[in-house]
Structure formats: structure tokens, C-alpha cells
Subunit: 359 residues, 2 copies
Amino acid sequence: MSTTESPERRGASPGPERSGKANLVDVARLARVSPATASRVLAGRSKGKAASHDRVLAAAEELGYVVNGLARSMMGVGRRSVAFVSAVMVGPTFATMAAAAEQVVTEDGHLFMLCTTHGDTERERALIESLAEQRVGTVLLVGSASTAEQDEQRVASYADSLGRVGAQLILCGRPPVAHRPDIANIDYDHTGGVRSAVEHLLGLGHRRIAYVGMTAGMSTEEQRFRGYRAGLDGGAIEIDEALLVPTENDPDAAATAIAAFLPEHPDVTAFVCHTDHIAIGAGRSLRAAGLSVPEHVSVIGFDDTPLVADLTPALTTVHAPFREVGDLAGRIAIGEPFGGSVVLPVEFIVRGSTGPAPR
Amino acid sequence: MSTTESPERRGASPGPERSGKANLVDVARLARVSPATASRVLAGRSKGKAASHDRVLAAAEELGYVVNGLARSMMGVGRRSVAFVSAVMVGPTFATMAAAAEQVVTEDGHLFMLCTTHGDTERERALIESLAEQRVGTVLLVGSASTAEQDEQRVASYADSLGRVGAQLILCGRPPVAHRPDIANIDYDHTGGVRSAVEHLLGLGHRRIAYVGMTAGMSTEEQRFRGYRAGLDGGAIEIDEALLVPTENDPDAAATAIAAFLPEHPDVTAFVCHTDHIAIGAGRSLRAAGLSVPEHVSVIGFDDTPLVADLTPALTTVHAPFREVGDLAGRIAIGEPFGGSVVLPVEFIVRGSTGPAPR
DNA sequence: TTGTATGCGTTATCAA
DNA sequence: TTGATAACGCATACAA
């Protein structure tokens, strides 16, 4: 008898259940075979011919045996897991990306888990550490990144920690880490998207174009704002600092910011917004101020969030390839070879919230 | 020497990495202490006085040691995990619930994972099985459930499987399983919400009120449709089968269904929709048909999805307590005692899409 | 405080 | 095909 015979010894534990009611040895004993044989049968590594085969299956059924995946994993077999790590869970932007990645990953038989950091660096660090401890297969680190140098080093250290346990790190929707071409990276063209928006407005005769949203600190902010500058440059228009409306990425905050901005700048005819969320807040403020879109002012968002096509007027925006990013990330996670870094194109979508500049 | 000395033996594995580069024994050896001592120091179960303490820490640092959480879990210590299982990931309804649960669970030091079934029963079964194998602590099964009897038995079998590995099952946003009061259950008042909607319309003078969405097959559908019937009953209005507009829960499908329905029923003045998504599709169709909301027809949704307050007109809807459900589920998952079954109230929110019935 | 020995549940190896 | 035995990496009871 290789193990103790009293099941009562198993008490309540603080962590995961130490064991199920029945283990492999119990099953083997009931089936009058060795644990090795039971293992083979249960894992389908047996021809299924012998009578013992059926006895094992019956015993497992009778005992309600559930294989311990933790023990299996310790032997280096079993399913790998992929973790999707982002700042927030709510919101259709990341959800679309996560859904696409999940589709690919689970179809290949792996476990997909979604974790959030709430924008808290320490929480992010602790989470990655936990995932490494749990021997995660791949971590998808998603969304805007702080552009501070120490943050870049922190991400590099994630890659190292994960690498030590044989896991890979894939950066999604954020720029690559400098001097670390080994860290896989999938981003999309934030700058080009906003630049297209500005060019569209210039073509419609707009000259006083405001930018709504943060312009520095996070990678997404800086990349998109760069598109605004590039667009203006292309039109030979000098940037006017007074036309920058900083606001958090939230409709209410944006509405407040625009409401304060409007009285001072009656000559502005267009608002390029950092996100759809901000554009929605802007739209609210504009309407409240008696300005109609797009007759008096034009508004452009970014992301192409599902419902924005149903707003009145429908929002002109930049469609971000969330689905494509998630899909590609999922494929890399399950082993598809990948060059290291890629920037996916975005699509500028003209709807009803933009029109000719009023004279 | 208790373990083999050649690290090279560790090859590539199909499953999770069999081990990190360094294990506890390696650290202990470098620090010239026993594995037991190293374990104590690393787990913070040591006073931290002796010189060996520092040597262990230094050795762990030098080797890039990452504790194997799988092995820890096998000992019955370590963090528990909570899995949120729903049909879909995209969409702000479940995302809100998931975010609330995640908040509570991770704050208590546990791992939170989100998994989706894509509405596929077999996938759901396999997923729950996987989670049981991984010794998950709690499974939150979320969203509408098939009302077929075999499906109810299937859910009961989940509870049994999970129970065998010491995990608990919590049903969220779906009705309890008959004769299984041991399965925790958190639902909200679908029926009452729709009933309020109908009563509101009756009060505004509407008499020909259509119901848009499925009416049977899934629990949410049946519960909400029951509210429609109850509301009509209360107003002493007989139900007219011709006013039922079946459609999938999707704006495009709903728009198509309504477009086909309208010409035949010009006398209908109000549409009660199974979800906001459907209401949005209905709105599109109505507008396309030259009908204005709420002057000609009234529309009511269900869920109170974030953006619907920004539509024109803002959507009258039933606010579902997603946050509260998620929060409560999270608290139960981390050990808060719970009676077994609860139905949370909803809130009927009147906005711009409903008005007096035209004469 | 530290070390020794053992168990956790599984799979792999190798001999029968 | 089957079985005994040895890993896997960690924690802990017990002895020193």
C-alpha cells in the first residue's frame, strides 16, 4: 500500500483543495490494477482491449474521479494557459480583442484567462508574478503603456520573469520596448489614424481644429497626438496650444472640459478626440451649447466602438483593428512563428458627425 | 544530493513548463542551507535574523527563482482562483458584472479568470471539467440558461463535479436549479422589469404594445416575456400573438424583423424589447420607416447598456444590477456566508424614447 | 533555528 | 500489456 489509507486525514486547507475525494491510487486500487495502468487508461494511452481497461473506467466513474491537473502540469503535460492582462475589463474595445484571442486559444485546447490591473502598476507587477508562479504559457499585455523610462524597464523585467518559467510575453496595442526586439509586439497605427482624421477635416475646409484628450504620459496618447500634429503640419497649419483640450478618457469629464473650452474659442469648427468616449462627451456638450453637429462643428472619435454608428449623428471615427490584434496574438500564443513586431493598419470611417466647415 | 544534478535533462514539453530554471533545491544549495530552510525564508515564515536568511534571498535573486505555484497548490497552500464563465465576452453587460466580481476577488489575493463558452454546451462542459481539474476555487456560471430539463441536469452535474474537488458553483443572472437549493444563485428581477415597462406604457395610453425578442427556450427570454404578459394582464388587455416579433439578440436582426413587421401592424404604438441591443435595431427600422420616436411610437429596452443614454432619443430601459450581482458573487466566492438564492431588484428608467400614445 | 524525511498526485522509465 | 520505482517541486511534522 503506497499511500495512507485514511481519507479523513484530508482537512480543510487555506489554498486550493489539496486533493479531490479520490485520486489515481484509489481508482487503481478499486480496479485492482497498478496506478501506472490506471493512468494510462484514463489518459487514453491504452489500447482499450483488456478487461482491466473497463474496470478502471468503471472505478473512476464510481469514485467520481477528477484528475488533478496541477499534478499533471508538474509532470510537464496538460494544457497551457494564456492570460490577457489589461488595465480595465469593461468597455468594448479590449473586449473585442480579448474575444478574438480567446477564440483562437481555446479552440486549440488551452485555457484562456482575463485579468485586469486597474491601471495600478504594483497590481500589474504582482499579477504577472502570480501568473509566472502558476506557470502560465503566454501573457498578453494589452493597452496603453506609460512612456516613463522606468515603466519600460519594468515591462522588460516582466519578459525576463516570464522567460525564466518558459512563458512568453506579447505586447498588444502598445509600442515595442526599446532595445528588446525579443519581446513580441502587435500594435496598430494610432498616429496614421488621427492624421487621416485631421486630413479629412482640412479637406472639408476646417482650419481651427481642436484636439480633445491627453497628449502625453501614455503611449496611446502620445502616438495619437503625434497624428494630430502631423496632419496639421501636412496642411501647413501651425499648431495652436490653446486648442488642446486635456481631459480624462471619460464622457463626463470630456463634456465638462468642452463646456469650459467653448466660450473662449467660438472660432473652432472641429474637434478631433482621443477616443470615441471623449467624442460622445463632446457631442453632449456641443448639443447643450446649442451647436449642432455637423452643421456648426464636426467631431471625430477613435476606436469605432460598436454603438457609435447608432448615435445621431453617427460618429465619424477611426476603426481600430481590435479583432485582428487579438486574433494574431492568439495565434502567436499557440505557437505560430512571429517576426517580433508589427503595426496593423487602421481604417478611417466617415459617418455623419463631420461636414464642411461653416463660413 | 536529493535531486539529479544535470539541468540539461529538462527538455521542451508539450504542456506547461515542467520547471523553471531554478528550483528550491537549487536555491538552498547555493545558499548552503537545507530546502526546508530556504522554503521557510522564501515564504516569510522565518524571523529574518540569521545570516542564512540573507544568503537564501540573495541566492533566489541570483538564480531568478520563481516559486512553482503548481507544486504549492498541491500542498494545499497558495492562492485560490475564481472563474467567470459566460457565453460571450464582448458586450458591456457581462463585462460590468465581471469587473465587479474581479474587483472583490483579486483584492482578496485570489486569481480571477474569465472564460467563455460561445453558447456551446459541449464547450461549456469541457470548460467546467478543465476548471475542476485545475482545482479552481469557485465557478461563476453567468447568463441566460436553456430551460430544457436536460440542461438543468447538466448544471446540477457541474455542481457535483466541482463539489468533488472542493469547489463551489454560483449561478449568476439565471434562475436556480430546481430541487437543488445547495447551488448558490443570484438573479435579478427580469419579470418585474418588463412588467414595469408595460405598465409605464399603459399609463401613457398605449394599448397596442408589441414584444420584440425571443419568448421561449432560454431562461432570460421566458422570464422577461412573462413580465410582458403580466403587465398586459394587469391592464386587462388580452395578449395578441400577432404582436410578438421574434428576433435574435442583435441590432441588425432586430431591425430586419421590425421592418417586416411594421407594414402589417400600423396600429402598434409601442415596442417592448428583450434587450437594449434589440431596441437599438428597432429604433433604426422605425426611423427608416419614417416613424419618429417617441412622437409616433415608443421604444423600451432592457439592461441599461452604457451608451444608450446618449442615443437620440435617449433610451427608456430597465437597469439591470450587473455590478451588484458581480459584487455579491465575488464576496461569496471569497467566503462570505450566503443563504443560497436571491433575486436583486431592477430599476425602470424613463428617458426620451417613450411618450404618450398618439391618438 | 535548522535539517531529515516524507507526502502531494501524476507521468515516465524500464524491466518483467 | 502491466507493475514497481523514480522523478516533479514544494511544504511540513518531527528530530536534532
